[in-house]
């Protein structure tokens, strides 16, 4: 039953998975926090998804499925999240001659949709606390990744190591 639940959720996420991993992360969060896991647990999970090779939306799906229903859950989530995109592409390849879609207009509409999704992602991920630490970490990460070419992976690993070090010093 859990596996069916996981499959349906990620099938749904796959249908609107536009605009890169981060906008999809917001959707996944909307679906599973707080009834499947806490916001904190979800953020840690996303950090793992980002520091492991592979597309982040796919990794996030695999990890959520794994936590929820073991290895079969992981398989179900992974294949569910890509099921609709694969179907859509196959149909488009088969029928591309017959679709009178204006590509540039469709592109612009999708880009607006994807930006709105990234905005929503940001909104749902903002720390719900007045403690300074999460805000400092988030702003520092924004500064580094928005204005330098440093890979986000190093920011994630660095922040984890720094927080560990702070714990040891305490």
């Amino acid at each position: 039953m859990e596996i069916l639940n996981v499959s349906l959720t990620f099938l749904k996420v796959g249908v609107v998975a536009f605009g890169g991993g981060w906008s999809v992360v917001g959707l996944i969060k909307q679906e599973i926090v707080p009834h499947w896991m806490s916001a904190d647990a979800f953020n840690s999970l996303i950090a793992i998804a980002q520091s492991t090779p592979g597309p982040i939306a796919l990794n996030a799906a695999t990890l959520v499925g794994w936590q929820k229903a073991g290895i079969l859950g992981a398989l179900a989530a992974t294949f569910s999240v890509i099921a609709f995109p694969l179907l859509a592409m196959s149909l488009a390849l088969a029928f591309s001659k017959y679709i009178p879609l204006k590509k540039d207009l469709a592109d612009e509409s999708l880009r607006s949709g994807s930006m709105a999704m990234i905005l929503m992602t940001l909104w749902t991920l903002l720390p719900h606390t007045s403690l300074p630490m999460p805000w400092i970490f988030a702003f520092a990460a924004f500064g580094i990744t928005a204005f330098t070419k440093i890979n986000a992976v190093w920011v994630i690993l660095g922040a984890g190591a720094l927080n560990m070090l702070l714990g040891v010093l305490h």
Binding site: G54, A57, A74, V81, S112, M120, L125, A138, G160, L166
Partner: protein
């Protein structure tokens, strides 16, 4: 990877069999950290180096891939492999992109279930998780900077974002409906 052909600056041409496509993608995906937008250029590079596709054509496929939902690394590889090796190539691409991260995560997940309860590891995950809003902010910043802004686009993005924030449980329908409305709006009322 240093082949004599590469040293001479000539693309080494091997035919793109499904198995070779699978291996090429699996190697790239399992070695590239940083998500889809880091993986795609690496794939373009590798496909071009093996003489499978020209760079301009690869990026034309890439921009088409963005029209579809799903991880951009997956959609780009799928469409590209279909073009160079047909349906079997496309199937090989799916497995090449999906399997390596799957097994990597199972390993990482096993590690976490062993060490996840230690105080030190919890602190690590807590710190790593805290930077995520900042990363999303920077993606938003980079996307916004690379777009030609107009009043219409601001209205589109803000309206959709507010709807999503106010009715989060209907995000799915808001997006599907919203994208269709925007498309039809652009067809009917060209700014």
């Amino acid at each position: 990877m240093k082949t004599p052909a590469k040293a001479e600056g000539i693309a080494k041409t091997v035919s793109p069999t499904p198995w070779r496509i699978f291996l090429t993608l699996a190697r790239i995906v399992s070695l590239t950290l940083g998500g889809g937008y880091a993986i795609v250029p690496a794939i373009g590079n590798a496909f071009e180096k093996q003489g499978w596709i020209k760079e301009e054509e690869f990026y034309r496929v890439f921009s088409r891939a963005q029209v579809f939902p799903g991880p951009i690394a997956l959609t780009t590889s799928f469409l590209c492999s279909y073009r160079i090796a047909g349906a079997r190539g496309a199937v090989a691409a799916v497995f090449g992109v999906v399997l390596p991260p799957f097994f990597a995560l199972i390993l990482v997940g096993g590690f976490i279930s062993l060490y996840g309860d230690t105080e030190l590891f919890k602190r690590f995950l807590h710190g790593a998780g805290a930077v995520v809003p900042g990363l999303v902010g920077s993606i938003l910043w980079r996307t916004a900077r690379n777009r030609k802004w107009s009043v219409r686009i601001v209205i589109e993005v803000v309206t959709l974002a507010v709807l999503l924030a106010v009715f989060p449980s209907s995000a799915f329908f808001i997006l599907i409906g919203g994208i269709i409305v925007l498309y039809v709006g652009r067809l009917v009322w060209k700014s």
